[in-house]
Structure formats: structure tokens, C-alpha cells
Symmetry: C2
Subunit: 332 residues, 2 copies
């Protein structure tokens, strides 16, 4: 097979078939996908969770991950945050003409590894090729189906006094990608890209009064918390000193002019739960590697204006707004 | 709101929220999507059909359709071809910086119209913005979930003597897009872009011994039939004079140097069924507008080499191979 992808590979004809059969299927070996029908048939039951994300991260590879791992973990996490068990993924590739086949293979291997680790199957897919200069090497869309196992009450159940927990250090992914993009990879800062379904399931099975779960990706922790409080009769107050940030991430953020609270994570979740359950829940989270740095970072406040406020170590207070512009374009 | 999309709109912050809330949600009004969780929760049951397609068509608008209508109908059809009832769609946008907001709105309105017409709901989505020169105005991925209503036996049930039916004229979509791309829109040639779920359901409910259904999109009728016969102990013989092609499509194909049998359709299906049921099934198909030009175009033959052969009006025979290269790049 040629070593780079040409437009022929997207024609729907022989070259498309060869690409799919020789390059893609071996990585995602499963009967539903191998049948190569227009769609996959899979067993269903109960309430479904359904989610989609396109991944346009630049560069494709960065310390701690790549676009393939990201595309699997991102959609797995979106489903897990609904209280559902992720089961099936789709994978749709938009390849820019000229991509090295070897690069595609490396990404697909990474997707396979991430899917196996997360316990999900890639059951259906699509491949398109666009002309040179009309894409950027590779974009991947994944959609996912999961089966609801737990009912999360959501924002309406949030009460002043509730605890705000985060499952680990903030800003790792965004900082790693920005460093990789700028060519300043020092290897210390690695993306946290990981599947969170095992963690969320264990948390939900603990019986703690969890109101809502969300993975703070684009826009980071600050933006996710603002999404929680927007238009609600409560605010959130964070203790800056309690927010876990790796020293190397903090140093990189200082250098790049970024704020860790706005930097994307791809393997962390934020949880609002009853304060009485917070310590027990933290212990559950810390019992898994993906939650080992879990921390109680703040609390829900009475605030008619739905503000997110950061209390600094020096006793100051500043309002954390939603990310205003493109601090970090194409981070996922 | 600004009139063009900038990178800020993809940051995950305020501008992304505004774009989603002011531009996207009004078009897809439904509770699951409005909740803006990481994924949608929808009721499930039985065996699920799951499919995905990315749409990279150039140009975005063409006679008879646009990328939005295509993105809805394409995924609806893939699910319908599995014998399932399409219910829920996801919609993921990759927007190139600089796209006019008005263009996006026009596409979204078209998606809404197509979804309503097909009886499906868009329940979850994602929006990314890539820098200028890293996309081409707009790419759309849709994934879809349907519930299986009919079990199609598939290729293993195909027998020599079986009838090959097509639901209408061939090559309309591919030809319309190629004319639009070359600036030669005469308005006569229109894409056949349409949802086929009503047609397929009526066909399957008729009780006819249908072996397999497929919508011949990229690569057209010839490529789809080759996908059927590849590696199988049977071939297909087509009667060229029976294949319905609009005169204006034939004329345009002659001018563009295309072969209608290889030109994409986006609102047609091919069906293999028992010969005894073919006439009754054709009557069922013709009772709906989307099947009004349905025709019996060929039959399954004994052929150890799985060839698709076209018998011409003059008594000649030629082998129709799978599309070899990029006859029609970015047609869908």
C-alpha cells in the first residue's frame, strides 16, 4: 500500500476498502465492525446515554497521549459522567491528503489500546479524505453509547454547603499540548488523558449523595464550575490552595501565561456532593490510581448571581469567569 | 454576535456557549439536547443499530440539498438499511474559522427540517473551530441510534436467481454536486438527497423475502453491488436499459466524463430479494414518492468470481468493477 493517503482513499472504492480492511479493521477487531454494514447492530437495554465529540487536537501526538487515545477517552468520559456504563463507540476519520499511513496506524493502535483499557468496543466507523490544505492531518469523531446504571439528580439537587471535589491535578492536558505545540516538550508535563468510567462507577456505587459529575475539558475547571452555577441560585467558592496542580504544570503555565484553572484536563472529573459524604467519597476516589490526588477544593454558596469565586492563599477573593476567548485553541 | 466564526467560538468558553445557545439549540429544540450535559439520556430497548458518517461535501450547498440535509439523511439511511427505525442523532460540527454565521444557520435550519421530516431527534452534539486553512468552511459528523424492527438475513441468504431492485434513478446526487462544484449549475440536475426510512420500513413490513438493503452512496450502484458480491459464490448481472437514469443526469455525466453507475446517490436504495416477490415489492416501493421510479435492474448469477456484469442494450457484456480511484472526491 502507498505510504501516504491520497484522495483516492476517500472515494468509497477499492482504495477505501483496502484502507479499511488492511489498516483500520485489524486494530478494531470485532464482529459488529467486521460485518461492514452501514451501521452496527448491538444489544440494548434500559436508558441509553449517547454522546459525541470531534477531536481536532494539534499536534496529533503529545506527552501522555495522542488524538486517538483522546478520542476514545473523551467520549467514554462524557458517557460515564451521565452515570452510564460506556459500551460502544463509533469512529469517523477525516484524513487530510498526504497523511503518512504510518501515522494513521499509530493513532489507530492507540485507539484500540484505549478502548480495550476502558472496556468499550468500536463497532462502526467512517473514513473520509479531504484535499491537502482542507484539514490538518487527521480529525477524529467518536460517538458513544452507554447504558444508564445510576441516576444523577443534577444541578437541581445542588444545595449551599455541598462539597466540590476534583479527582486530581488540574491543567495537565492543556499545558502538555501547548508545550508540545510550541516545541517546548520537556517530558515532565504529561497529558492526564485517561478513561474515568471505572472511577465514576466506583464513586456512584459508594452510595454517596453525588449531585453531578462533569469532566472539565475545554475551558478547564473554572469554565465547568461556571457552567454549573450559570443561571442557578447558588455560587461556588474555591480554596486556591486546595486545588491540586503539579509544580511542573504551574511552572509551565507561568511561562506560557496560562492559568491552570482554565487549562483543559482529559482525565479528571469534578463532583458536587453532600458535604457529609465528602470525606468518604474522597477515600473511595483515592483508592484508584485515576483518583489518587483527589481533593476537596471548595463548597457551594448562596449566591443569587451564580458566581464562582476563588479564595487565594493571601485571603483575597477573585471572581473566576467562564473562559472568554481562545486561550487554548484546538486542545482536544 | 459577530458575523463570522472565529477561533474564540471553539474555546469551550463564553463564545462557544453563545454559539451553542443562540445559534444551534434553537434549531434542534428538544429536552435531551437543551440539558447540555456531556451526553444525552434516551430510552432504549431491544437491539440497537448504531452508525456514523462524517460529511465533507464541497460545495456546502447544491441543487436539491446541502451538507446539513445530507448529514441527517445519510445517517438515517444507514440505520434504516439495517432494518432498524432511526430515532436519535448526534451532530458534531468542525467549523473553519471565518465561516459566516449566516451560512451555519442556514445549514442548521436544513438539518432541523430534515430531522423533522425523517422523524428523528438530534439529542447531543459538539462544536469545534479550526484555524483558517485547516478545514473547508464546515464538516459535519452525525452518528445515529435506531431500534431494530426487522431482521435482515444478509448476504448469506442471497441465491442465484434473486432479483436486484433499485428504488429510483441513479447518479443524481454525485452529478448535481459535481456540476455545482464546477459552477455549471443548470438547475435541472438535482441531488436525490432524502431519508429512506419510510420506504425501507414499508418494504420490510410487506413480508417480501428481502435479503439485504444498502444505499449506494460513494462509488454509486456499481460499487455497492461489488461490495455485495466480493468474496461470495455469486455474481450480479445488470440490464443496462433497466437502470433508471434521468436524461439530464445522463447528459451531464457525458459532459463531465462520468458513468452514472459510479455516481453517488443519497436517496436511493438497492435491494436483493427473492425473484418471486420482486413484482409485489416493486409495487410497494412505487406507492411512495421516494420509490416512484423503482426498477428491477438485474439478477443474482452463479459466479465463483463474484463479478458484477452489465449487459448493454446492444447485447454486449462488460464487467463493472469497484470504483478504482477518486472519481468524485468529497461528494458527501
Amino acid at each position: 500500500m502507498d505510504e501516504i493517503i491520497t484522495l483516492d482513499y476517500g472515494s468509497g472504492g477499492k482504495k477505501t476498502s483496502r484502507l479499511i480492511e488492511q489498516t483500520i479493521l485489524p486494530d478494531f477487531d470485532n464482529p459488529a465492525l467486521n460485518a461492514l454494514g452501514d451501521g452496527a447492530l448491538v444489544p440494548g437495554s434500559g436508558t441509553l446515554a449517547f454522546s459525541t465529540d470531534s477531536f481536532v487536537v494539534d499536534p496529533l501526538f503529545f506527552p501522555g497521549g495522542d488524538i486517538g487515545k483522546l478520542a476514545v477517552c473523551g467520549t467514554v468520559n462524557d458517557i460515564a459522567m451521565c452515570g452510564a456504563e460506556p459500551k460502544y463507540l463509533s469512529c469517523a476519520l477525516i484524513i487530510e491528503e498526504g497523511l503518512k499511513l504510518e501515522t494513521l496506524e499509530r493513532v489507530l493502535r492507540s485507539m484500540r489500546g484505549a478502548a480495550q483499557k476502558a472496556g468499550v468496543q468500536i463497532v462502526t466507523g467512517d473514513t473520509k479524505v479531504v484535499d491537502r490544505g482542507r484539514g490538518d492531518k487527521l480529525y477524529i469523531n467518536t460517538a458513544g453509547i452507554g447504558f444508564q446504571k445510576f441516576v444523577l439528580p443534577g444541578l437541581q439537587a445542588v444545595k449551599p454547603g455541598d462539597a466540590v471535589l476534583v479527582s486530581g491535578t488540574c491543567g495537565d492536558h492543556g499545558t502538555a499540548v501547548m508545550l508540545a505545540r510550541s516545541g517546548m516538550m520537556d517530558g515532565d508535563v504529561r497529558s492526564d488523558c485517561a478513561a474515568l468510567n471505572r472511577l465514576s462507577e466506583k464513586m456512584l456505587a459508594s452510595g454517596a449523595a453525588i449531585r453531578i459529575l462533569r469532566d472539565p475539558t475545554r475551558g478547564g475547571l473554572a469554565t465547568t464550575l461556571n457552567e454549573f452555577t450559570e443561571g442557578q441560585p447558588f455560587g461556588i467558592e474555591l480554596e486556591e490552595e486546595q486545588i491540586p496542580v503539579r509544580p511542573e504544570v504551574r511552572a509551565a503555565c507561568d511561562m506560557l501565561g496560562l492559568e491552570p484553572a482554565y487549562c483543559a484536563n482529559e482525565g479528571k472529573l469534578v463532583c458536587i456532593c453532600a458535604a457529609d459524604d465528602a470525606e468518604d467519597l474522597l477515600a473511595v476516589m483515592r483508592s484508584l490510581p485515576e483518583g489518587e490526588n483527589a481533593a476537596w477544593i471548595g463548597r457551594v454558596t448562596e449566591d443569587a448571581n451564580g458566581r464562582v469565586v476563588m479564595r487565594t492563599g493571601l485571603g483575597g477573593r477573585r471572581i473566576l469567569q467562564k473562559l472568554a476567548g481562545a486561550q487554548l485553541p484546538r486542545i482536544c
